[in-house]
């Protein structure tokens, strides 16, 4: 009896743990499968693009036949595609993304030299989006139906309608050229100077995305505000701020975090426009330039990087969700 009664709770605990492990393992498996499929797509799509990388390397001058052969072999382009793929994936697993055709340099160096600017830009823009988007959404939700709500919604929609390149041009014209408060280009030297240089670019990048977070926050909170438990909490005389924080905002976090996952990838992609406008040397502008110049190894590495960030962020969001909102694992019956 004793061992049995001792075993029962252990089994329950064990099944709970193993369920969690299975969930995480399942997620990881899905993640690896997604990355594998993405790597196939990223690698083989280059064969669909017209243009011969060797012709690019020799820039259309009349090359000697030996030069064509030598350059083809140097970049492993004489191998069958599947073998090129295996070499590529094998290299990546060892941290080697190949050589950039344009810069004649290791892709890892080309990217490493430009990644910090983009990361800082995305982090700064993300912070602006989080603070401004959440605040505006909360203000609108708490004043739903009133003038302030409508005004916020109009402001959000207007911001969302401004394309990043227009936002950049306006910000440069006003705050850099006219007022001279901020520099109009470059990323500066040292951390603080870089942050200063990235203020306008991160605002330009954030503008479009604020509307997304703002509107999701508003609708998620409005939905929660109508719920019974909020009314019960309010009727029990709990302070308004506490009700909003504990019962409304916390329950509304789910959709907000889900959208944030998508947003991260969006920020990386949209950064190309802002980086070009502000003369910043980041991953985004590097991607655009590399596509234009048929620099396949760099394009493949950046796309794979962005896909990885996207997939990982979403997997993390999925894993975090039950922690934030236990209902998502318990199933609908618990609601």
């Amino acid at each position: 009896m004793a061992p049995g009664s001792a075993a029962a709770p252990a089994a329950v605990g064990g099944s709970r743990t193993s369920a969690a492990v299975r969930r995480v393992a399942g997620k990881l498996g899905g993640l690896l499968l997604t990355l594998f499929l993405a790597s196939l797509l990223v690698f083989f799509s280059r064969f669909l693009v017209p243009g011969d990388p060797v012709r690019f390397l020799l820039r259309g001058r009349e090359p000697s036949a030996e030069a064509v052969a030598a350059v083809t072999a140097q970049y492993g382009l004489d191998l069958p595609p599947w073998q090129q793929y295996l070499n590529w994936v094998g290299g990546i697993l060892h941290g080697d993304f190949g050589r950039s055709l344009q810069y004649r340099q290791d892709v890892t160096i080309v990217i490493a030299e430009r990644l910090p600017v983009t990361l800082l830009l995305v982090v700064m823009a993300g912070s602006i989006i989080a603070v401004v988007g959440l605040s505006l959404g909360t203000v609108a939700a708490l004043n739903r139906g009133r003038a302030l709500d409508r005004l916020t919604l109009i402001a959000l929609t207007t911001l969302g309608a401004i394309p990043s390149f227009v936002g950049s041009i306006v910000l440069i014209a006003v705050f850099a050229v006219q007022l001279g408060w901020f520099p109009s280009f470059g990323s500066g030297d040292g951390f603080l100077d870089t942050v200063y240089h990235l203020v306008l670019p991160s605002i330009a990048l954030a503008l479009v995305f604020i509307v997304l977070i703002g509107k999701v926050t508003r609708s998620a909170m409005v939905e929660q505000l109508r719920r019974e438990h909020v009314e019960v909490a309010t009727s029990r005389g709990l302070a308004r701020a506490l009700v909003v924080r504990r019962h409304v905002l916390r329950n509304a976090l789910g959709p907000i975090i889900t959208v944030s996952g998508i947003l991260v990838a969006g920020l990386f992609v949209a950064s190309s426009i802002v980086e070009a406008a502000f003369g910043l040397s980041g991953i985004g502008s590097l991607l655009v330039q590399s596509v234009d110049r048929l620099d396949f190894p760099v394009v493949q590495a950046i796309v794979l990087l962005v896909v990885t960030v996207f997939v990982v962020v979403n997997a993390v969001v999925d894993l975090l969700e039950p922690w934030i909102d236990p209902r998502s694992t318990a199933g609908d019956s618990a609601r």
Binding site: P50, G51, D52, R55, L57, L58, R59, G60, R61, E62, P63, S64, E66, A67, A69, A70, V71, Q74, Q102, Y103, R104, Q105, I109, V110, E113, R114, F165, I169, I172, A173, A176, V177, G180, P183, S184, F185, G186, S187, A276, A277, F278, G279, L280, S281, G282, S285, L286, Q289, D292, R293, L294
Partner: protein
């Protein structure tokens, strides 16, 4: 035999001006609403009042590499020209003078002997030797390097040290063009030790370069800027750097460049978009200057099997083009209509008679739609279709393709514009299969040596860049003979004859020549606006205003 290397200059601006195109597109399509700019050529800006600590310069793109073997672009060469020097020096007036070779001799028709200058040091302090010259030049012949300047070296049999300070280049046959190219990046000399130690990283942002120029590479912030500092032990006192350091900033976005110049954050830049000239001049932070060019903008006839295979149709199309209208609309008047494929600037060695034959005794194709229509009818080409390729590269591309299509239609031809991506457009210059079905495409073609033959050698039968496979036996014979003539003045007699034939037969349709533009801020002076900035250390003479 010789194939001096050039590059379709307009392509270089690819991508950089895309935003400008979008913004300028509407105004450029309506010539009536565009004000033309008053302009004149500037030979030399005022001498500096003194040295300057530093100045900032803006470039439309980052150099892909500072390896001279791959320096074939405005972006690469405008930096490299200040850091690395060649055997000969190409001056702003497009004359050649001794560089790292203090003299050269041509003892037999197939040998060039260079005497290497004494007392020259590389940026790392080591002395220049004949071995460095041999090692630097041999790289162009190495298939594993894949040099962009290979065509200059294709007739070279051997490059050897034949004396303490002497290097002899032996050619397979007489080749006058080889020596002329030694003033371009094809003649650049790097330290042999640096080449060996840097290996595959030579010339990139980690490997760097170690040359003899008035400036040395101090820092390369990938994607953003290159910092050059004065080479204190520079051998030529007359070109000692006036600035202790120069920052060359890269801005792909045309608006960003113009803003930086307008606000005075940057002191100058080459190749200013014409749509920005007026606002820059009105900004009060400096002025836009125009200088010598060797580039001619023309339409390449890429299919001589189609309707444009008939000389009369080519002539008719040129006559139906309102070229002055194109210059006004696409370039706000900053340019001149031309009927030939070279500029006067590369005819410095010409005798008066050769010059007159090349620029005066030629056909001028005045705008005359009626006569042009009659020519097309005479050729029996009425109703046939031509395809014009274009790409969103710079604002003039749209204007020119549309004007050409309209001109073709006005003389009874059908015309179709095919818009391709900038990289697909680049492929037109490299890949014969990309040119299938294309009759015409636009280029701005510049020369890197002071000799018109560099242009006409390209149009010989079977040449790689003779895109339309145009063939004329008389033309081939004249050019082939010219390549073997050592006396530059005598050579231009042949070049003039080649120019006359090309002007009559129009393998390419010459449109206009536009001057090299430059913005000079109010802090600095001393630079000569000229396309020679590709190879001449232009930044060395810039000092405080």
């Amino acid at each position: 035999m010789t194939r001096p290397a050039h590059r379709p200059a307009a392509l270089v601006i690819a991508g950089a001006l895309s935003v400008a195109v979008a913004l300028a597109g509407c105004s450029a399509a309506e010539p009536a609403s565009v004000d033309t700019i008053d302009w004149s050529l500037t030979d030399q800006t005022a001498a500096p009042s003194g040295d300057i600590d530093s100045f900032d310069w803006v470039s439309y793109a980052e150099p892909s590499s500072l390896d001279y073997a791959y320096a074939f672009d405005y972006a690469d060469n405008q930096v490299l020209a200040n850091v690395c020097e060649a055997l000969l020096r190409l001056n702003p007036d497009f004359s050649l003078s001794p560089g790292l070779a203090e003299s050269f001799a041509h003892p037999t028709p197939t040998t060039w002997v260079y005497t290497i200058r004494d007392g020259v040091t590389f940026h790392d302090g080591t002395a220049l030797t004949a071995d460095d010259v041999v090692a630097s030049m041999l790289r162009h012949l190495d298939p594993a390097v894949g040099s962009y300047w290979y065509s200059v070296y294709q007739n070279v049999v051997s490059i050897e040290r034949t004396g303490d300070r002497e290097v002899t280049v032996t050619m397979a046959g007489p080749d006058s063009v080889f020596n002329l190219a030694m003033g371009s990046s094809a003649g650049v000399i790097e330290s042999a030790a640096t080449l060996a130690s840097a290996g595959a990283e030579y010339g990139n942002s980690t490997g760097g370069v170690n040359c003899t120029g008035p400036f040395q590479l101090a820092a390369w912030k990938a994607g953003e800027s290159i910092t050059l500092t004065r080479h204190e032990d520079y051998w030529d006192e007359s070109l000692r750097a006036r600035a202790a350091s120069v920052d060359i900033l890269f801005m792909n976005d045309a608006n960003a460049r113009v803003n930086a110049l307008k606000s005075g954050e940057v002191d100058g830049g080459w190749m200013i978009p014409t749509e920005a000239v007026t606002q820059l001049n009105e900004s009060g932070s400096g002025e836009v200057l125009f200088g010598l060019t060797t580039a001619v903008s023309s339409l390449i006839v890429s299919d001589t099997e189609g309707p444009l295979g008939d000389q009369r149709v080519r002539q008719a199309l040129l006559m139906a083009l309102d070229r002055q209208g194109i210059v006004d609309a696409a370039l706000r008047g900053v340019g001149e209509v031309t009927d030939v494929l070279t500029t006067e600037s590369v005819w410095g060695d010409a005798s008066d008679s050769a010059f007159a034959a090349a620029f005066e005794d030629i056909e001028s194709y005045p705008y005359d739609v009626e006569a042009a229509r009659a020519l097309v009818e005479e050729a029996g080409a009425t109703g046939e279709q031509i395809v014009i390729a274009t790409a969103p590269i710079a604002s003039e591309f749209a204007v020119i393709s549309q004007a050409t299509a309209a001109a073709a239609q006005s003389i009874g031809l059908e015309a179709k514009i095919e818009t391709v991506s900038p990289s697909a457009y680049t492929a037109l210059f490299a890949d014969p299969s990309a040119r299938e079905g294309i009759d015409l495409f636009f280029t701005s073609w510049y020369l890197s040596s002071p000799d018109p033959l560099e242009m006409y050698a390209v149009l010989r039968t079977g040449e790689f860049s003779n895109y339309g496979e145009w063939s004329n036996a008389e033309f081939d014979a004249i050019v082939n003979e010219a390549v073997q003539i050592d006396d530059p003045t005598e050579r231009t007699e042949n070049a003039a004859e080649a120019q006359r034939i090309a002007n009559e037969q129009l393998p390419w349709l010459p449109l206009y020549t536009a001057p090299m533009s430059m913005f000079l801020g109010e802090r600095i002076t001393g630079v000569t606006p000229s396309i020679a900035f590709l190879y001449y250390p232009w930044a060395a003479t810039i000092g405080a205003r």
